[in-house]
C-alpha cells in the first residue's frame, strides 16, 4: 500500500487518523509520566549539593525543552502554511500553541520555585530567564492575535507571520547561557558530549521528556480535531459525521 502524504494532508483523512492515534499517545503519556515520576522521586538519589529541592529538575527541564520544541514546530507549520496555503498546517500550529504556552509557563513557574532555594530569589533578570519569559509572552501574543481577528484566513496568516518572526527567540534562549554569563545552569545534556549528570537522573528526565512529548501530541491532536470540525462544518463529511453522533 503506497503511503501518500497528500492523502493525510486533507483534513478529512487526518481527522480519522488523529482519532486513531490519540488514545495511544494519551496512554503513553500517562504511563511514562507515572514511570518518570517514580524514578524522579523514589529512585534518583538526593543531590549532595542541593538536597531534595533539585528534584524540580525533572519537571523543569522537560517543560523548558518542550516550550522551545513546540515553538519550532509551530514555526515549521506556519512556514508550510504560508508557502503552500495548506489548511491543515495552520490548524496544526493553532492546536499546538496552548500546549506550548502551558509548558512555557510551567518552565517559568518551576524555575521560579527552584530559584528561591537555589539563588535566594524567585526571579532574577538574567538572559535565559528573560528570554524564556519572552517566549511565554510570544505564545500569549500569538494567541491574542488569533483571537483578535475574526476572519479565519486573515487570522491564520497573520499569526503565522508573527510566529515566524518570533522564532528568532528560540536560539536565543538555547544559547543564552553560552553567550552571556548568567546565574542559570549551562547545558548539561548534549548530543556531542557525554552527560555530566548521574545516569539515573538522566534517565528519569528523558522518560519525563518523552512523556511530555506524548502529552503534547495527544493534546494537539485532540485540539486539531476540534478545529477541523469547526472549520469544515459546512462540508458534507462533517455533516454526516455529526448526524451519526
Amino acid at each position: 500500500m503506497a503511503f501518500s502524504i497528500y492523502k493525510y494532508a486533507s483534513p478529512m483523512t487526518f481527522y480519522g487518523l488523529a482519532g486513531k492515534l490519540i488514545p495511544w499517545f494519551a496512554w503513553g503519556a500517562g504511563i511514562l509520566t507515572v514511570l518518570g515520576l517514580y524514578i524522579a522521586f523514589f529512585m534518583a538519589p538526593t543531590d549532595f549539593q542541593q538536597g531534595e529541592a533539585y528534584r524540580v529538575i525533572f519537571i523543569h527541564v522537560p517543560a523548558a525543552w518542550m516550550s522551545m520544541f513546540i515553538y519550532i514546530i509551530m514555526a515549521f507549520w506556519s512556514a508550510v502554511g504560508l508557502a503552500w496555503n495548506t489548511r491543515l498546517s495552520f490548524m496544526m500550529s493553532r492546536a499546538l500553541a496552548p500546549t506550548g504556552a502551558v509548558f512555557a509557563f510551567l518552565s517559568l513557574w518551576t524555575g521560579a520555585l527552584w530559584g528561591k532555594p537555589m539563588w535566594g530569589a524567585w526571579w532574577v533578570w538574567d538572559a535565559r530567564l528573560t528570554s524564556s519569559l519572552i517566549l511565554f509572552f510570544l505564545y500569549v501574543g500569538i494567541m491574542a492575535l488569533w483571537s483578535a481577528i475574526d476572519d479565519r484566513r486573515r487570522s491564520d496568516r497573520a499569526g503565522a507571520l508573527l510566529i515566524l518572526v518570533g522564532a528568532i527567540n528560540v536560539p536565543i534562549i538555547y544559547f543564552s547561557v553560552k553567550w552571556w554569563n548568567t546565574l542559570h545552569q549551562g547545558a548539561s545534556v548534549s548530543l556531542m558530549k557525554s552527560p555530566s549528570m548521574a545516569s539515573i537522573m538522566l534517565i528519569g528526565m528523558l522518560v519525563l521528556a518523552i512523556a511530555a512529548w506524548f502529552y503534547a501530541i495527544a493534546t494537539a491532536l485532540t485540539r486539531v480535531r476540534g478545529i477541523i470540525l469547526e472549520r469544515e462544518r459546512q462540508t458534507e463529511w462533517v455533516k454526516e459525521l455529526l448526524e451519526k453522533i
Partner: protein, 222 residues
C-alpha cells in the same frame, strides 16, 4: 439617572468583553513595562527593590494613559458618542460612567496583578499591601483625570500624544503620593500621610473631573 449611569457602564463593559484580546493585553502591557525595567537597569536585587514602587506606579500610569486615548475616540468616530449626547440624560453622567467603566476594566485588574510583580521585585508582604492600597485609591484618579484629557483632545490629530502632554502633569500628584506611600512603607515609615493625601486628591478629582469632561465633550463634538 442612576439607570443611565449603569447603562453607560454596562455598555462599555460589554464592548470590552467583545474585544476579548484588548482587555487582557492592557494588563499585559503593565506587566511588560514593569518587566522591562530590570532588563534596562540590571539585575541587582537591592537596587530593584528600591526602584520598584516608582516603576510600578509609572507603569500603571502609562498603562492607563494608553487605554485612555481610546476612551471616547471610537465612539466619536462611529457616531455613537453623538447619539449618547443626544440622550435626555445629562452628559456629566456620561462622562462619569465612561470613566468608571474605564476604571473597572483597566484599573481593577492592575490591582490584582501588582502583588505578583511586587514579588518579582522582592518587595515584602506589608509593602505589597500598601502598594495595592495606593493603587486602589490612585487608579480611579487616573481614569477620571484621563477622561478630561480624552474629552479635550477628542478628534484632534495626534490626540493620543497630546492627551499625554495634558494629563501627565495632572497625574503627578497621584504619582508622588502613591509611590511615596510605598516608598515610606519600604523605608519602614508609616505610609498614612501619603495615603491620606492621595485619598483627598481622589475625592477632589471625583467631584470636579466629570463636569469638566462633560463640557469638554460638548465643545469637542461641535
Amino acid at each position: 439617572m442612576l439607570h443611565f449611569l449603569l447603562t453607560v457602564i454596562r455598555r462599555d463593559l460589554l464592548l470590552a468583553a467583545r474585544r476579548k484580546g484588548d482587555w487582557l493585553t492592557s494588563q499585559f502591557f503593565f506587566i511588560m513595562v514593569v518587566s522591562m525595567f530590570p532588563l534596562g537597569i540590571g539585575p541587582e536585587p537591592e537596587m530593584l527593590r528600591r526602584v520598584a514602587p516608582g516603576v510600578m506606579w509609572v507603569a500603571a500610569l502609562l498603562a492607563s494613559l494608553l487605554s485612555l486615548s481610546r476612551l471616547f475616540a471610537e465612539d466619536y468616530r462611529d457616531g455613537s458618542l453623538e447619539q449618547m449626547l443626544l440622550s435626555p440624560e445629562p452628559p456629566v453622567l456620561l462622562a462619569l460612567g465612561k470613566a468608571l467603566a474605564h476604571w473597572l476594566i483597566y484599573g481593577i485588574p492592575l490591582l490584582l496583578i501588582a502583588p505578583v510583580l511586587g514579588l518579582q521585585f522582592g518587595l515584602p508582604a506589608d509593602v505589597i499591601g500598601v502598594l495595592m492600597l495606593s493603587l486602589l485609591i490612585g487608579t480611579p484618579v487616573l481614569s477620571l483625570l484621563g477622561g478630561v484629557g480624552a474629552a479635550l483632545t477628542l478628534g484632534l490629530r495626534g490626540g493620543g500624544v497630546l492627551l499625554t502632554l495634558l494629563i501627565l502633569p495632572l497625574y503627578v500628584p497621584a504619582l508622588i503620593f502613591g509611590a511615596g506611600a510605598v516608598d515610606s512603607a519600604l523605608a519602614g515609615l508609616g505610609p498614612e500621610a501619603n495615603l491620606s493625601l492621595l485619598a483627598a486628591f481622589a475625592v477632589l478629582t471625583l467631584m470636579v473631573a466629570p463636569w469638566v469632561a462633560a463640557s469638554a465633550l460638548k465643545i469637542s463634538i461641535e
